[in-house]
């Protein structure tokens, strides 16, 4: 942590320096200061998963993370997961399977699912359900989300 109150991290593959006070929450920094609004705020208390990002590849609730602790680390948001053109296999599966309705939970699910398939390329249905049990969706009943993740796994995401 630099004395000047500057935070240095790699954000979506690029070095970023941002002023940041100790009490700043990572979600607030991303959305409000850096205008990366793909990461959503659903509850601010760890109870919805809409704010999920990757910190050093690990899915992390950005609403319960001090931004300063990302100093020197790699942060990847939904913007960094999305390819410059087109969609990732997980994203494509979500669209085609109807796994996104209102879409507000979707970036969080995409981040979680992307990390899941990276670590477990062939999850069972039960493993998928367990892996997404920290992401809340009020629209889909999860059925199509589970299907989409299974489809992406089958297609070798």
């Amino acid at each position: 942590m630099s004395e000047a109150g500057l935070l240095r991290m790699r954000l979506n593959g690029h070095p970023v320096v941002a002023p940041c006070e100790p009490a700043r929450i990572l979600l607030d920094l991303l959305r409000d200061d850096l205008h990366l609004t793909g990461t959503k705020r659903g509850c601010d208390l760890g109870t919805c998963g809409c704010c999920t990002v990757l910190v050093d590849g690990r899915p992390t609730l950005s609403c319960l993370t001090l931004a300063r602790l990302a100093d020197g680390h790699d942060v990847t948001t939904i913007e960094g997961i999305s390819p410059p053109q087109g969609l990732s296999p997980v994203q494509r599966a979500f669209v085609e399977s109807g796994a996104t309705q209102c879409g507000f939970c979707t970036p969080g699910f995409i981040v979680t699912a992307t990390a899941l398939l990276r670590d477990h390329p062939h999850p069972s249905r039960a493993e998928i359900e367990r892996a997404i049990a920290g992401n809340l969706c009020r629209c889909t009943g999860y059925t199509k989300i589970v299907e989409a993740i299974a489809t992406a796994a089958k297609d070798g995401a």
């Binding site: 942590m1 100790p22 009490a23 601010d44 760890g46 319960l64 602790l69 979680t112």
Partner: protein, 327 residues
């Protein structure tokens, strides 16, 4: 929701941490994964002007050979098949904590020291102020058991009972150096929902040690909650033991999620060692544990139901552990 300002400290060694803690005595909180502390801070619960982040204290990380660093993330244990093989009761408990996303940041130490919970406490400042603050934060009386002395907030960590059943010890660093004590001695059995742990000001949890004798114990952690994810335990029963055919070779039982501290029931399990555990004796054990514990009405499910479930869960946990041992 923003946080009020605080100073953030990032020591890199245990010694430095303890020194810092000494100099800030009473005016700081340790920050591990933050998944318990930060929601509480966002609700303005017992704020301190300093946070000592344990993130960079390398010694607190890692697990292996019966040692679990205080800063080891629960997800690391969840992902490690050796834990399931060697300490099934712990694997059960880890997998039942919160959600996968909380486990990705939440740590072993944070889980053992998770703040006690109560419907009247885990609320926003606005909510608490509108009712009148309670003993545990900003106030002078209890809404659950109306009086002004004692807080009945519930210990709601999942790992403690499991680690107690494994006879774990905690390693603590303080101004006087390192020391070890049984995990159950970390909790203040004579205290309440506020005075709940025996940690001197500035003492730091370094690691948990599970004795070699506990490796391979058959075990089961059974957790009562409304949903299979998110929810804190309304009851958590941990059992670890060894069976020699029908005969109980060792058996330990601990329960959390009911009173202000987790409890171990050696006095009830030790007499069972050496003989077969008949259904009647198992039922008697379960009933006695149930008799000794007193849930209050400060969580989602009603206390009489939680109490009744103690009997069922103890019986099932022991039974499933035993059956696991047979297979």
């Amino acid at each position: 929701m923003h946080l009020d300002p605080f100073a953030l400290h990032r020591p890199t060694s245990v010694d430095e941490t303890v020194r810092l803690a000494g100099s800030l005595a009473g005016r700081f909180d340790y920050l591990a994964g933050g998944t318990d502390l930060l929601p509480n801070y966002k609700m303005h619960l017992n704020l301190r002007p300093n946070l000592i982040a344990l993130e960079d204290v390398g010694e607190l990380r890692g697990h292996g050979a019966g040692r679990f660093g205080a800063m080891e993330r629960l997800a690391e244990l969840d992902d490690d098949p050796a834990i399931r093989a060697e300490y099934p009761v712990l694997a059960d408990a880890v997998g039942e904590v919160a959600t996968p996303l909380v486990r990705a940041s939440g740590t072993v130490g944070g889980n053992l020291l998770v703040e006690t919970r109560c419907f009247f406490f885990n609320q926003s400042y606005f909510w608490r102020e509108s009712l009148g603050f309670c003993l545990k934060a900003d106030g002078d009386r209890c809404h659950v058991v109306p009086q002004k002395e004692k807080c009945y907030a519930t210990f709601s960590g999942d790992l403690a009972p499991a680690l107690m059943a494994l006879d774990a010890e905690v390693e603590v660093a303080g101004p006087a150096g390192r020391s070890r004590r049984p995990l159950e001695a970390l909790y203040d059995a004579a205290g309440d929902g506020i005075r709940r742990v025996h940690l001197a000001p500035g003492e730091l949890l370094v690691a948990v040690h599970v004795p070699a004798a506990s490796r391979g114990l058959h075990g089961r952690y059974k957790k009562l909650r409304v949903r299979p994810s998110y929810d804190f335990p309304e009851l958590g029963v941990a059992v670890a033991g060894r069976w020699d055919g029908d005969r109980v070779a060792s058996l330990r039982l601990a329960v959390g999620g009911v009173e202000p501290h987790p409890r171990r029931f050696d006095a009830l399990t030790e007499p069972l060692v050496g003989s077969a555990l008949s259904d009647d004796r198992l039922r008697a054990l379960a009933d006695e544990v149930m008799r000794q514990l007193r849930p209050v009405h400060n969580t989602f499910l009603l206390p009489d139901y939680r109490k009744r479930m103690i009997g069922v869960y103890v019986r099932r946990a022991v039974d499933e552990a035993r059956r696991g041992s047979a297979s």
